[in-house]
Symmetry: C2
Subunit: 204 residues, 2 copies
DNA sequence: CGGAAAGTGTCAGTGACTGTCAATCATTGC
DNA sequence: GCAATGATTGACAGTCACTGACACTTTCCG
């Protein structure tokens, strides 16, 4: 009894993929702002109206993958040992990203997306908005965890800042490796080691 | 020979203030998305076209103050002793905000603005976009400082993460105090103390 | 006084996005 | 096979943010 025809979800995803591929091609070629929704729809062979049935906005085409990646991060964080220092749990919840970026093909693709996002202030802002919400849900998760297992940080403000700090490391490392050809994982580890809060005890 | 009639700048600011006041009133009453630019323009008694001569976008009306606040933060950071640990310099560059929020009238006003911003995903995203750019310029500033005075952090990635972490504290504290009636300054100090990176040496 | 500069209103247009409606297409029950 | 049903779609019209062009007025300054 999954909400609304479970089988349909597959073809919906397939159409979304077709749209996303066509759109990204256009974005790379002409830039995000310079590409109209009409052009994307035409490239896929559908009406503009139908485009908006698969994506709530033009932004969504680019940011959709981020949504799913966010769910992965949440799952990873939840799977961590509950008494591990938050900082280390957060570092490990970034593993899906590290793994993604270890594949050269994926890396180049993500780099192209990153360039597109950073080239449009509007898109960049939307991207940061998503990240912010994700951070909110991750810190809620850690708050829950601390309530169930003693020893964790229980101050929601500190917790929110902690998650924000970890994401600041992630962002900084990603942005750096998007430009310089430095390997991502050591760059992230170095940054998170330097930024480890005094609070986060090293042993457990 | 100041660019384009320096005296005019005064009246321009005055008009902007009138628009901003009228707009905020409408935003509080009806919400940001539900208020059209036409309504704002009508409330001030000007054409829509003229509204866009004073503000580049509807977002700008709300985020304009942030821009000037950002310049204040930059100035404060630059004025700090160059060998002070970055974390402390950043904390002190937040002083203008602390001072602003110590006035009860201003605090209530800013709280209203904060509610407006957080109620609209579009506005919130734009707000985060501004913050991101501000963080970029602050970390450039610290990078410069480290180049001139030995002892500071010279890795641009770590530096960027450091600034991001400090802003995460700021954001967390601001958001918390926007809801709970906790006093802002101790909340910020507590959070930044808990988040102080191991790198940032306490003494200098 | 005369002419440049600055500010404004009007109008037309683009592009993102939404609501509505009728047509189509696949599925299901008979 | 066939009709009812529900999902998917295109066509069309409309809203709203935002932009460019042009004409008009006011202000400033020699």
């Amino acid at each position: 009894m999954s909400a609304g025809g479970g089988l349909r979800e597959v073809s919906r995803r397939a159409v979304q993929s077709r749209i996303a591929r066509a759109a990204e091609e256009l974005f790379v070629a002409k830039g995000f702002e310079e590409t109209t929704v009409d052009e994307i729809a035409a490239a896929v062979g559908m009406s503009q109206r139908s485009f908006f049935r698969y994506f709530a906005s033009k932004d969504e085409v680019v940011l959709d993958r981020l949504e799913r990646l966010g769910e992965e991060l949440s799952a990873r964080l939840e799977a961590r040992p509950p008494r591990e220092p938050e900082w280390d749990s957060l570092r490990h919840s970034f593993d899906p990203i590290v793994e993604r970026l270890s594949d050269p093909v994926v890396r180049e693709h993500d780099r192209a997306l990153q360039r597109i996002v950073h080239a449009s202030p509007r898109l960049l802002a939307a991207y940061l908005g998503r990240l912010d919400r994700l951070q909110g849900s991750l810190s809620d998760l850690l708050l829950d965890r601390a309530a169930r297992h003693p020893g964790g940080e229980t101050d929601p403000v500190v917790l929110r800042a902690l998650v924000g700090g970890a994401f600041a490391c992630l962002q900084a490392a990603m942005q750096h490796c998007g430009v310089e050809p430095e390997v991502f994982e050591p760059c992230l580890d170095r940054t998170m080691a330097a930024m480890r809060p005094v609070t986060a005890s090293a042993a457990w």
